[in-house]
Symmetry: none
């Protein structure tokens, strides 16, 4: 079993090496490493799969090949069949999101999980779907449900990874900068007010309060850091006062 409980990916009778490579690349992106290939049309190894895999090349190289789905899933506990349509089959049909929720619970209990994808043109045979525990169907526009094999895999792997990452961290942000205080803002507004008065910006006295308020709201909405407020104030100073020798 993968040490991190990541799902195994099984590609059944894939036709194009490019797609095998694309799946492997996505596996690498989303923290999966165990690829199994059932009866690949163009034999094995496959040069195009290696070329297309990019950072997932080692995943292609380590992939195991099986003659049929039954042998490929011999040590799997729970298998999810990716299909474009919810077949007329007495089997749970889940969205990727719902499937991953179940899968994370199952993997936490030690289950070895597999995602099973069929050939590009036809998808999985009904009897292959039957061998799986549930169906995962990616929601699409109703008339346009045919996803490329690599793309289907991306969606499932992304959704799996996302839910596993959610438990560890939340969204990143790039804003390390020091927060600004209300005092910083007040100083900016006072400086700006001075320039605006000098420039006779407010021609009609009765509109002045609303205009000031609007400008404050606009600027505040940027949620500037202390440094950004200083930058803006420096810009205003140079625009309105020109370059001055610094006071020593």
């Amino acid at each position: 079993m993968p040490k991190d409980n990541a799902p195994i990916v099984i590609l059944v009778r894939p036709q194009l090496g490019e797609n095998i490579g694309a799946v492997a690349r996505a596996m690498g992106n989303f923290g999966c490493s165990e690829l199994r290939v059932v009866a690949p049309r163009d034999g094995w190894p496959n040069r195009k799969a290696l070329e297309m895999a990019s950072d997932g090349k080692s995943i292609v190289e380590a992939a195991k090949v099986f003659p049929d789905l039954a042998s490929a899933m011999h040590d799997v506990h729970i298998a999810y069949a990716a299909t474009a349509r919810a077949r007329d089959m007495a089997k749970p049909a889940l969205t990727p999101q719902a499937a991953m929720k179940k899968i994370h619970g199952q993997a936490a209990k030690g289950s070895r999980i597999a995602f099973v994808f069929g050939p590009e043109r036809t998808g999985l045979e009904n009897e292959e779907v039957v061998m799986c525990d549930a169906i995962v169907t990616i929601p699409t526009a109703p008339k346009n449900f045919s996803l490329n094999l690599g793309q289907s895999a991306v969606v499932l792997l992304y959704e799996w990874f996302k839910q596993s990452a959610e438990k560890k961290t939340s969204a990143r942000s790039t804003q390390h900068a020091a927060l600004s205080t209300k005092k910083d803002w007040q100083e900016l507004f006072a400086q700006l007010d001075g320039y605006l008065e000098d420039a006779n910006y407010y021609r009609t006295a009765h509109k002045k309060p609303v205009m000031r308020q609007n400008m404050r709201n606009m600027l505040l909405r940027g949620a500037w850091s202390e440094q950004e407020i200083r930058t803006f104030r420096g810009m205003l100073r140079i625009l309105c006062e020109g370059r001055k020798p610094r006071k020593s």
Copy 2:
């Protein structure tokens, strides 16, 4: 504007026709139709894009080509840059899920949204990222963050579609008049640049790109309406040029 408020997809300097086609195919799968292509490496039309698009062929056929990102996003209200790394930039960096939550709110108010993707090898230039309102970064395994262009698009479009399917019922309001386009921002920046040059704001040439970039990021973050941009431009004009008789 797409009648259903679906996002526009902008591919900046895409290298491979196959990837353009893959993006178009995914757009069709996930209910998007408006594709814009900036300076495609291999020219336009592109046979491989058409071949790879499958059911998205009509999307490729209807795609519009632009010379640069600025012109491609002239009528866009809010742009999301897809980048593999959260750049060191004072701009919101969101997961696809968080971005789509915001986007659905924005689109409900009538905003025209765009997803912006860079070239396969290098991604977007920093100055292109600066032109966007936020960054979307797909969570990946830390050492393996390079997604294929088509696959990145699949993830964003899937996440968008999934959330739109969840939210079909939410009411739409009408604030069309209030929104600013990227053209409005470009005009503001051009005006500001002129004043800054006149005032000799940039004393050291090598710092100029970063300073311009920071100022753009700060101002964009306020998400100003068209009226607010006009207000700010009017204020700048009076501060820098003084009161002038109005043109009649």
